[in-house]
């Protein structure tokens, strides 16, 4: 367990040290009007949506699935809420809109779960359907416009502060809940059992299908919350660009964190580290003053490097240490 997290952790520390070398004040934290500011807080705040989506994705991947539709679901959540709020400034409308959006996301998750568990379609294709159609649906909701809102209650979700930014607190809360629900109860083991062999675990008395439905609904709700953060942070819903490629970032975060795409085991701590690596990388590129567009090149290099040092075959070839290839 510790060994698997070693390399991602080292990568994260290296990135943070690089930041420190370029901007000496990177680790400085300061309080201002009861709000905590600083480089690390920024990384956490901007990484919150990716972390949330990656959490949902971790459980989906643990069941040997994948969810490509999360970005589209995030866009739908933002679109529905903003359209519901409209010109209203009241907190009640904002909460009603968010509740509506999250219920809708749960339904979309049920849909994905139905395709995967009910019809037995490969997860990558089943969720590709919603990934393609979802953006269309989001544009249908906003009628192709960027809907802007002016609602203080809604703004709190993505841009508010309770000492720390609210989005960080939400993400950490969800992380805590998931860790508790899956590691303190048998749920985590059941999810891993389904990932190892759905049929065998069904014969052993695990309700494989229910588990699969559950993880897809959870992933969609996480995506919905992330969508609310993204849209609330700018007080607008952009059906085209909100959450664009965030599913890729989330999958990368999960994989960097040592969760195998082949399913059967997962690491929530790994996902947290993975999400932080992705976000720190983006921040680093900004701070060293490279054109932001070039971030992609760095991302590619880090992904390949981290995947390579984790791949059993690569380890054996480079003989970092004598590890037996885990079966």
């Amino acid at each position: 367990m510790k060994n698997r997290l070693l390399w991602p952790l080292l990568a994260l520390v290296a990135l943070l040290l690089l930041n420190l070398a370029v901007t000496p004040s990177f680790f400085a934290l300061r309080m201002q009007d009861g709000h905590l500011y600083g480089g690390l807080v920024d990384v956490l705040k901007n990484g919150a949506p990716t972390l949330l989506i990656a959490l949902g994705m971790t459980l989906v991947i643990a069941t040997r699935g994948i969810d490509l539709s999360v970005g589209a679901v995030a866009a739908i959540a933002g679109a529905v809420t903003c359209v519901h709020i409209g010109t209203s400034g009241s907190a009640a409308t904002a909460f009603a809109g968010m509740a509506l959006a999250l219920v809708l996301c749960a339904v979309l998750g049920l849909w994905n779960g139905f395709l995967v568990a009910g019809l037995g379609i490969q997860p990558i294709i089943a969720t590709l359907v919603l990934m393609t159609a979802g953006r269309g649906v989001a544009m249908l909701v906003t009628e192709g416009q960027i809907v802007t809102v002016n609602n203080t209650a809604y703004r709190q979700v993505g841009a508010g502060f309770v000492v720390l930014p609210v989005s960080i607190l939400i993400a950490l809360l969800v992380l805590g809940l998931v860790a508790f629900a899956t590691r303190r109860t048998a749920l985590g083991m059941l999810i891993e059992a389904v990932g190892v062999n759905p049929e065998a675990s069904r014969l052993a008395g695990v309700r494989s299908r229910t588990i699969i439905w559950t993880v897809y609904v959870f992933a969609a709700v996480c995506a919905g919350i992330a969508g609310l953060m993204i849209s609330s942070n700018v007080s607008a819903a952009d059906a085209n660009n909100a959450g664009l490629w965030i599913e890729m970032d989330a999958i990368l975060a999960v994989v960097i964190g040592g969760t195998s795409l082949a399913g059967g085991r997962y690491s929530l701590t790994g996902t947290l580290i993975g999400a932080l690596i992705i976000q720190t990388l983006t921040t680093t590129v900004y701070t060293i003053g490279v054109a932001p567009e070039v971030t992609l090149v760095f991302k590619a290099i880090v992904v390949i490097a981290v995947c390579l040092v984790q791949a059993p075959k690569a380890r054996a070839a480079l003989s970092f240490r004598k590890v037996a290839v885990p079966s």
């Binding site: 990558i124 393609t132 159609a133 269309g136 890729m248 999958i251 990368l252 054109a291 070039v294 690569a314």
Partner: protein, 320 residues
């Protein structure tokens, strides 16, 4: 139905279903709208989607072998960028073409080697390839670069007259040649047979003594080569190079291949299916533009629904 299944082997049914769908969609358009049922509208389907046809052909190889290539859209963008900046720097056209094709195949080769040698999932490796290729575009230039080269512009704008007053471009000819070549390789060479074998069952293929390594790496080289060729066609079509060209095109290519009846699990499918898939997607877009009042986002919803229908149909066929 029994007579149909007797005459047509069941493995051709998915492709046939796609062709029927294309005919139905086109027939629907011809009845609804004046001027829809003209040869030029069909020719335009090919002209506007030539690059997608080439992409789908390459993607078919990868998917048949049981893999997936998410990098194709970015490689198209990178190819347009290399083409445009190469021409701007005054390189001769053949050199530019060679450079583009080499870039694409090398990227494909690298990805294939990483996937095979280190046993990392194709999904992740090609995702990294997607980021890398798009990042490289922006390293060349952040701005859009237009193509002013005379030869290039001439090739792009030359119309080939077909009987009946229908015109096509060289793009279409190249795309159809690629499809023909892909069909030849898949069905008439050892490599093609092995692609099907690896996609059907890799361990069996290995135990039969087939060169699985060469095939598993080879399909990504083919996909990379097709993507860069599609990139060349795309730069002829757009007459510019830009890092934001072809965003999300990999999804169109995958959708076309799946709608064309190729199983994502590998081992089952045809290049012609991908071609039919592209034509179906193109027809939907044409229908929506002829309709006029429907907004463009309906295209996405319809494509999603189509994907769903085809996957569900495939599912029931596999179960039988």
């Amino acid at each position: 139905m029994t007579t149909l299944t007797q005459r047509v082997p069941s493995r051709f049914l998915p492709v046939l279903a796609t062709v029927v769908l294309f005919v139905l969609a086109f027939g629907f358009g011809s009845v609804r709208y004046d001027g829809f049922a003209s040869g030029q509208v069909i020719a335009n389907l090919f002209i506007d989607n030539a690059f997608l046809i080439v992409l789908a052909a390459g993607m078919t190889f990868v998917i048949l072998s049981g893999g997936i290539d998410l990098s194709v859209g970015s490689v198209v963008a990178l190819s347009t960028m290399v083409t445009a900046s190469g021409l701007q720097a005054g390189w001769p056209v053949p050199l530019v073409i060679l450079a583009v094709l080499l870039t694409g195949s090398t990227l494909g080769l690298l990805m294939g080697l990483v996937i095979h040698k280190f046993d990392i999932q194709p999904f992740i490796v090609t995702l990294a390839g997607m980021f890398l290729a798009r990042g490289l575009c922006f390293l060349i230039s952040v701005e859009s670069v237009s193509i002013k080269d005379r030869t290039f512009r001439d090739v792009a704008t030359t119309a080939i007259e077909l009987p009946g007053g229908v015109t096509i471009t060289y793009n279409v000819v190249i795309a159809l040649l690629v499809v023909a070549a892909a069909m030849y390789v898949l069905h008439r060479t050892r490599f093609g047979r092995t692609v099907y074998a690896v996609g059907g069952n890799e361990s069996s293929a290995l135990l039969m003594g087939l060169p699985t390594t060469r095939v598993k790496v080879g399909v990504y080289v083919i996909s990379g080569l097709c993507s860069s060729l599609a990139g060349l066609l795309f730069s002829l079509y757009m007459l510019s190079g830009y890092g934001l060209h072809a965003v999300g095109m990999e999804l169109d290519a995958i959708a076309a291949v799946v709608i064309g009846g190729t199983l994502l699990a590998g081992g089952v499918g045809y290049v012609l299916g991908g071609l039919a898939g592209v034509l179906v997607l193109g027809t939907i877009q044409t229908l929506i533009s002829f309709q006029g009042t429907l907004s463009s986002w309906w295209t996405k919803i319809v494509i999603g629904v189509l994907l769903l229908v085809f996957i569900a149909v495939q599912r029931t066929m596999v179960r039988r």
